[in-house]
């Protein structure tokens, strides 16, 4: 839960219209508040970075109510209205903070003239080859040139020549000629990524972006510089020249790399994902995400995807597979090894399945080192979901030796494994041969190879669902591409198994229906509907689990200590 400090509102006047804005907000943000579609064009300003003020595109006229210097009294015009003392020069909106009574003109002659001037200047040395530029379609310079440019060039001199393909790091390629020296990438590396590696060399019009000697743009956030580059200078080595952006479909999703749950956008076309970019959510990831998180989608195209429902290695229909699984589970002695990577909906069904066949449930933890920014120590996206769902009541173990003992003693004779390679977690292959195996998972592994029943799962890009992140924020993701042919979402298969176990008739399950059941049965999700989960997510009540020793340490938007204190304070109040 975010602690909202109470911000004082003040009234300023933008283009003749009085509006209320929070005190101290800069004029670019104030104009956004002023009206839909109203914008002060800008390049170097970024809401999450420090103010540089170097592009000079966001010029506005600024005036303050006039006061007599001697007496301090308001100076009035003939109508008794306080006169506005307009500044003689235009000022940059990004570095101008709103103060009471301030007047702003965003479209006066002088403002238009200076914008047009800046646009002309930016274009004289810029390669005017949008048709072959990778940024075309999502280029601020292209957009503003259409709006504020003159349509022909007065520049008949030679353009500057700069390096065209500099490899700044293993993932970022720089076209220096396109660079407009806005310094967003420099500030990002320094202020957000915490690795000051970029800077300018040479002077004036020959200024060139480069890495410091002996360094490279190798930090795990380097691709964010590509996102925030307003022109086609910084490009993703992986994505550049693969696809024109206007052909791509954008789907909201959630990053599964860690319990941060960075909000993302999947860019796909005809069932193929081309790239993943961060989506702004000020409570979760601002506008950033890790490079490693962007590469996860490549696993969806790997050759070892599970593509068929099989029983004893023979392809079967979903109904047959579900029936066989249910029959097996009915025999008792079942243990479920669940996953904190499953969605909330899947976990709901796994829990129901475990309940109905009296299975014991264990989870294994996935812990890595965090970077204090947007990669947390907990490397699963939905551990909180498993807790809220009641799938588990305590944190997962490191391995499964307890379960191994139970298999050895013969207490367990059927194992349901969800997306884990248990041979690496204390249950040897020998031991596995003692039990019947049902495997749910996206990719083939040592378990799927020996499993009696295999149910292929869809990856996060291929299904609808939701995760609960480190701060107990429920966030939903949507299917961007279809999965392997013939593969249904896990909840469809699980519904068949669960219904069979309970001697019910399986219903045609949509995600809305699934959520009706979840909201009815799970107290933590009471009152929620699938459609009611907004793009920003829903903050859930963490109180029942607040004392669990979660592994996350402080990162960009989450401080476990402060989070706990805030919760305790709310509960007491």
């Amino acid at each position: 839960m975010e602690i909202q400090s109470i911000v004082e509102n003040i009234t300023i006047n933008i283009d003749g219209q009085d509006i209320d804005v929070p005190k101290g907000i800069n004029i670019i943000e104030a104009v956004k508040i002023a009206g839909k579609g109203k914008e002060v064009p800008h390049y170097c300003y970024h809401p999450k970075l420090s103010i540089a003020g170097n592009c000079r595109m966001c010029m506005v006229e600024m005036g303050m109510p006039m006061r007599d210097r001697g007496t301090g009294e308001a100076v009035l015009d003939e109508n008794g209205v306080q006169k506005i003392g307009w500044m003689p020069k235009p000022t940059i909106a990004c570095a101008t903070n709103a103060s009471p009574g301030m007047h702003i003109r965003t479209n006066s002659e002088i403002v238009k003239e200076s914008r047009n001037g800046v646009t002309e200047f930016l274009l004289i040395n810029h390669p005017l080859d949008c048709p072959i530029c990778d940024q075309a379609g999502e280029c601020r310079l292209q957009e503003f040139s259409a709006e504020h440019g003159r349509g022909y060039s007065r520049f008949i001199e030679q353009k500057n020549v700069k390096p065209k393909r500099t490899k700044l790091g293993s993932r970022v390629t720089l076209d220096d000629e396109r660079c407009i020296l806005c310094s967003r990438c420099v500030r990002f590396s320094k202020e957000i990524a915490g690795e000051d590696v970029l800077g300018f060399v040479d002077r004036g019009t020959y200024s060139t972006l480069t890495c410091y000697p002996g360094k490279g743009l190798e930090h795990n956030y380097s691709l964010n510089t590509v996102d925030i580059c307003p022109v086609g200078a910084l490009t993703s080595t992986d994505f550049r020249f693969k696809m024109r952006v206007w052909f791509l479909k954008r789907t909201n999703s959630i990053c599964t790399e860690s319990s941060i749950g960075a909000n993302t956008e999947i860019w796909s076309r005809e069932g193929k994902i081309y790239r993943i970019t961060p989506r702004r959510n000020d409570a979760v990831n601002d506008t950033w995400m890790t490079d490693s998180g962007r590469e996860l989608f490549k696993a969806s195209e790997s050759d070892d995807r599970l593509t068929h429902y099989t029983i004893e290695g023979v392809h079967q229909t979903i109904a047959e597979t579900a029936q066989a699984a249910a029959d097996l589970l009915k025999t008792g002695g079942v243990a479920l090894i669940g996953s904190a990577s499953s969605s909330v909906e899947e976990q709901f069904f796994y829990r129901m399945m475990a309940d109905r066949c009296g299975a014991s449930v264990s989870l294994v933890n996935h812990i890595g080192s965090g970077d204090g920014i947007l990669l947390s120590e907990e490397r699963t996206p939905n551990l909180r979901g498993a807790l809220l769902n009641g799938l588990i009541t305590k944190l997962p173990e490191a391995e499964l030796s307890l379960l191994a003992g139970e298999i050895n003693s013969g207490a367990i004779n059927t194992l349901v494994v969800v997306n884990e390679d248990v041979t690496k977690l204390g249950i040897s292959s020998d031991l596995l041969s003692k039990v019947k195996l049902v495997y749910f998972g996206t990719h083939a592994n040592a378990v799927s190879q020996v499993a009696n029943i295999v149910c292929p799962s869809l990856m996060v890009y291929e299904k609808d669902g939701s995760f609960v992140n480190q701060s107990f924020r429920l966030q939903k993701f949507k299917a961007a591409v279809p999965g392997p042919r013939g593969i249904q979402s896990d909840i469809t298969v699980l519904e068949e198994i669960v219904a069979n176990l309970g001697d019910e008739k399986p219903s045609a399950l949509t995600i809305d229906v699934a959520w009706q059941r979840i909201a009815e049965q799970i107290g933590a999700f009471a009152g929620l509907t699938w459609r009611g989960i907004s793009d920003e997510g829903v903050a859930l009540d963490p109180t029942p689990f607040i004392d669990l020793p979660f592994v996350e340490t402080k990162n960009l938007k989450f401080d476990p200590v402060a989070f706990k204190e805030a919760q305790t304070a709310t509960t007491q109040a």
Binding site: N54, A95, S114, V118, F121, G199, R203, T205
Partner: protein
């Protein structure tokens, strides 16, 4: 009318035979007496004196130094820094260099008086990289002064301590801009800061309150203590107090530096009486009165308007009194005092090409209008002198300059566009004529470009 006499205040000992730049010579000539006097005064009284004296900044902008000191943020509790701007790089200016080379102790005394007045914790001299000799002289002078306890810990037995650090630049004009200079001292690229919020008096060096003054201004402080604020203000005219060192260069018989009280001479007297006039047979064509960024004055212009007190004036170029306000009234500025005289042999297009070359080379590249616009102007004027002038180039140059001035982070944008704006406004015919001549030559199949060498 008799030839006006120089009144040397700052340059009293410059070029004096037998005067050396060591501390013994300086002490023999009454040196450091003002510092001894200053430390017995209350710091706020010195500040008040500087305000009363009306001394205006000698670096270029002419902002009253006492006022600048008053803006210091003393409530923050952060240490205060004093920085001496010795990055004298405005083309046509060569006064600070003489002070540093020949009378460094005057600067040190002026600085220590100023540092005491604003209660600075530490003082810096930012000296341009090319002044290597000056750097060595200053380093030695500071050592000498430290030995005599004139700077360093507990100066002259008082509880006040302040040291001076000499920091060398690396050859960039932009380091003369005070916030660029501050960035450079901090070890960064000399990219000027945006104002607001980074006004040096509040958020200067290391985000602490900082005063940046020109070499000559700081020397003036020493004389203000000697003469008193009132006494100093009696030199010159109200609003234009003290003396100014005019660095005259160009087509005059005796170029050099000449110190006069403000308003004591006119531009005509300076050129014809002091500098021995133009070369034989030449006529005055134009004067840039305050360093290359000041707007040019044409020899046959009439300047009319109203003075501050309401009286009307009607001046020819020779009648302009040499002071801050008068040069401002005629549409130019006294700037850094670099008077560049051009006679009728000057090709104004080439002159402007030369100036543009300099500014394009020196633009720091931080903000768009200056980074892109100034080199564009350079390319245009370069092309014009290379024989490819077009008639519309004059208008184009003016448009570019108009798009730069007032739109940039620092005053460099103005510094680079004022010459272009004024050259085009006053010598438009020459720019158009250039194109026509070249077109005619081209028709005849002759070479259109004369052999010219720009700096």
């Amino acid at each position: 009318m008799s030839t006006p006499q120089e009144h040397r205040l700052i340059f009293k000992h410059i070029d004096e035979p037998g005067y050396t730049n060591d501390i013994d010579c300086y002490l023999k000539h009454g040196g450091y007496e003002q510092l001894k006097k200053a430390v017995t005064m209350k710091p706020e009284d010195i500040c008040a004196d500087v305000l009363t004296s009306g001394v205006r900044g000698r670096g270029g902008a002419g902002f009253p130094a006492g006022m600048k000191w008053k803006f210091l943020d003393r409530k923050s509790g952060k240490p205060i820094y004093l920085v001496c701007n010795a990055d004298e790089s405005e083309p046509g200016t060569f006064k600070d260099r003489q002070i540093i080379h020949q009378d460094p102790h005057q600067l040190i005394e002026g600085m220590m008086c100023s540092a005491f007045a604003i209660q600075a914790k530490l003082a810096f001299i930012y000296i341009r990289g090319e002044f290597f000799q000056g750097y060595k002289i200053l380093e030695r002078a500071i050592e000498e002064a430290r030995e005599k306890n004139l700077l360093g810990d507990n100066i002259l037995g008082t509880s006040y301590s302040c040291d001076i650090i000499v920091h060398r630049g690396a050859g960039a004009y932009i380091c003369g801009e005070e916030t660029g200079l501050i960035e450079s001292i901090e070890g960064n690229r000399a990219n000027p800061r945006i104002k607001p919020p980074y006004f040096p008096a509040a958020l200067g060096l290391y985000q602490c309150p900082t005063i940046v003054n020109n070499v000559e201004t700081l020397c003036d402080v020493k004389h203000i203590i000697e003469l008193g604020g009132q006494g100093f203000s009696e030199i010159g005219t109200p609003g234009n107090t003290g003396t100014r060192i005019w660095c005259v260069s160009g087509h005059v018989q005796k170029p050099g530096y000449y110190e006069f009280p403000c308003s004591a001479i006119t531009l005509g007297e300076l050129i014809y009486d002091i500098c021995g006039g133009l070369k034989p047979g030449r006529k005055l064509k134009a004067v840039i009165p305050g360093g290359s960024s000041a707007k040019v004055l044409r020899a046959d212009e009439r300047f009319t308007g109203k003075l501050k007190d309401g009286t009307e004036f009607d001046w020819g170029i020779e009648d302009i009194p040499m002071d801050f306000d008068s040069l401002g009234l005629v549409g130019s500025m006294s700037g850094s005092g670099g008077v560049i005289v051009m006679d009728d042999s000057t090709d104004m297009v080439e002159a402007l090409a030369n100036i543009n070359y300099f500014y394009a080379h020196e633009s720091c590249g931080q903000c768009t209008p200056c980074r892109e616009g100034v080199p564009w102007m350079r390319k245009v004027t370069q092309r014009m002198v290379d024989g490819e002038a077009r008639e519309e180039d004059a208008q184009l140059l003016k448009d570019i300059a108009d798009q730069i001035a007032g739109r940039t982070i620092c005053a460099f944008g103005e510094a680079a566009s004022w010459p272009v704006q004024s050259f085009i406004a006053k010598f438009n015919d020459e720019f158009v004529e250039k194109a026509r001549t070249q077109a005619a030559l081209r028709k005849e199949g002759k070479s259109t470009a004369e052999k010219t060498t720009l700096i």
